[in-house]
C-alpha cells in the first residue's frame, strides 16, 4: 500500500506541523533560518557577491554566501554557483578564493566517493602527542547545551542550536574547543554538528573535524582569544574574564593543551 504524502500547504506553519507528524520520532522545533526550495536558493544566488566574499569571508559578520544548505542537498550545483560567480566579474582571478572554497566541497565529495570509511574512522593518528584513547567518546552535556562557561563558545553553540547554521570560522573555533580544550573525540563533535546543521554533510563536516583534530592534517588547529577578537563582531562577548581558557598566546596554549611528544624529549 503506497502512502503518498501531501505537498501543498496554505502556510509555512502548516507545513512545519505536517513535518512534525511525519517525523514523529523527533521533538518538534521552530524551522531554521533558511527557507527550503529552488526559489529561495536562486534568490540567494542572485545576491551572491563573490568579491565581497573574498574580502571579508573570515569575519563572523563577513559577506558569506549562505548557499551551503542548498549546495548540500543538490538544489544548487557547484558548477551552477561557479558559473554564476564568474558572470559577475571580468576576471576569474578576482574571485579565486571563492572558487577555491567551492573546490573544497568538490574535494571532500571525491574523498567520500573514494574512501567512505574516512567519514567515521581516524584517517591518521592525532599529531597532538595524545592517542585516540586519550579523548572522550561522548560529548559532555555542557557542550551539547551551550553552557561551557566560555562566553564566546556558548554564544556560537546557542546560534548553532537556534538557527541550524554557523559561520565557518565559528565552526572551527567550536570544533577546536571540543577536541583540544576538552579532549573529546572528533567523531562525537561531528555527529553533534551533523544533527544540527542544515548544511551538515558527512564529507565536508566530518573531514573538517578530522582536519581540526589533526587526523587529516599535519598539525592540530587551535586559536586564541586574540584571534576571536580580530574576526568577531561587537555582538560576541570576548571579555578576558569570561573566556579565560582561550586567553593565552599560541606558545602557552600549545604547551598547555598538548603534551611534549615522546620523540622530542
Amino acid at each position: 500500500m503506497l502512502n503518498r504524502l501531501k505537498s501543498a500547504f496554505v502556510s509555512r506553519s502548516e507545513l512545519v506541523e505536517h513535518v512534525a507528524t511525519v517525523a514523529d520520532w523527533l521533538e518538534p522545533a521552530s524551522p531554521g533560518v533558511f527557507v527550503g526550495g529552488q526559489e529561495a536558493a536562486e534568490e540567494r544566488l542572485k545576491q551572491l557577491d563573490p568579491q565581497a566574499y573574498c574580502r571579508s569571508r573570515n569575519f563572523l559578520d563577513g559577506k558569506v554566501t549562505r548557499l551551503s544548505p542548498y549546495i548540500r542537498h543538490g538544489i544548487l550545483t557547484l558548477d551552477q554557483v561557479r558559473n554564476t560567480a564568474l558572470d559577475k566579474v571580468s576576471k576569474a582571478a578576482q574571485i579565486e578564493k571563492f572558487i577555491q572554497e567551492l573546490a573544497w566541497r568538490d574535494y571532500w565529495q571525491r574523498v567520500y566517493y573514494r574512501h567512505p570509511e574516512y567519514i567515521w574512522q581516524d584517517i591518521e593518528n592525532y599529531k597532538t602527542g595524545l592517542a585516540a584513547d586519550d579523548y572522550a567518546d561522548q560529548l559532555p552535556e555542557d557542550i551539547a547545551s551551550g553552557s561551557t562557561g566560555v562566553a564566546c563558545i556558548d554564544q556560537f553553540i546557542a546560534e548553532l542550536l537556534d538557527s541550524g547554521y554557523l559561520h565557518n570560522h565559528a565552526r572551527m573555533y567550536v570544533a577546536a574547543y571540543v577536541v583540544h580544550w576538552r579532549r573529546v573525540k572528533w567523531q562525537a563533535g561531528a555527529k553533534w554538528f551533523l544533527h544540527h546543521l542544515l548544511d551538515g554533510d558527512p564529507a565536508s563536516n566530518n573531514l573538517s573535524w578530522q582536519w581540526v583534530a589533526s587526523t587529516f592534517s599535519n598539525k592540530p588547529y587551535i586559536f586564541n582569544l586574540e584571534n576571536v577578537r580580530k574576526y568577531a563582531h561587537p555582538g560576541i562577548n570576548t571579555h578576558s574574564a569570561e573566556n579565560k581558557v582561550l586567553n593565552a598566546s599560541y606558545d602557552e596554549l600549545n604547551a598547555r593543551l598538548f603534551p611534549i611528544e615522546r620523540g622530542a624529549l
Partner: protein, 145 residues
Amino acid sequence: MSQLVWLHEDALNMDHPVLRRAGRDALVCFVWDDRYLQQMDYGFKRLVFIYETLCQMPLQIYRGDTVEVLSELAADQRTDSIHIPSTPNPVLQAIATRLQQRMNVETVEDAPFVRLNHDPDVKRFFRYWNKARKSALQHAGGRQE
C-alpha cells in the same frame, strides 16, 4: 510503460541530468523513509528544510521503506528499471544495491565542477587543487578534453 526516477536527498533538483536521461514522461519521486532519516540522525530543522524543498518540486512524495515503495511504483508503471542520481553516501548506495536485486538501476552523474583527465590524489587538498585549479576557474569547468 514510463520511466521511474528516484530523487534522494543529495540531489533535490529537477535540472539533474538523471531527468533528461529518464525522459519527459518519467514518474519522479522522493521516498520519506523514516528508518533512513533516523539513521542519518537529522534534526527537525533539517527535515523541514528538505520537506519545504520537496513541496516546490513537481514530484511525488511517498512514505515508507525505500525499496518497498520503489518496487511497488515500478510495478504500477510496468517498468523494470529505475534512474538514480549518483551519490557517495554509502547508506543510499546500499539501498540502490538492494534495488538492483529487483530491477535495473542506472545511476547518473551530475554536471562536473572540474574536468580532469585522471582521478587526482586526494591525500591532501592542495594536491587536488594543483590539478583542478585551471578547470575550476573556467565556465562549466572548461572544454571537455
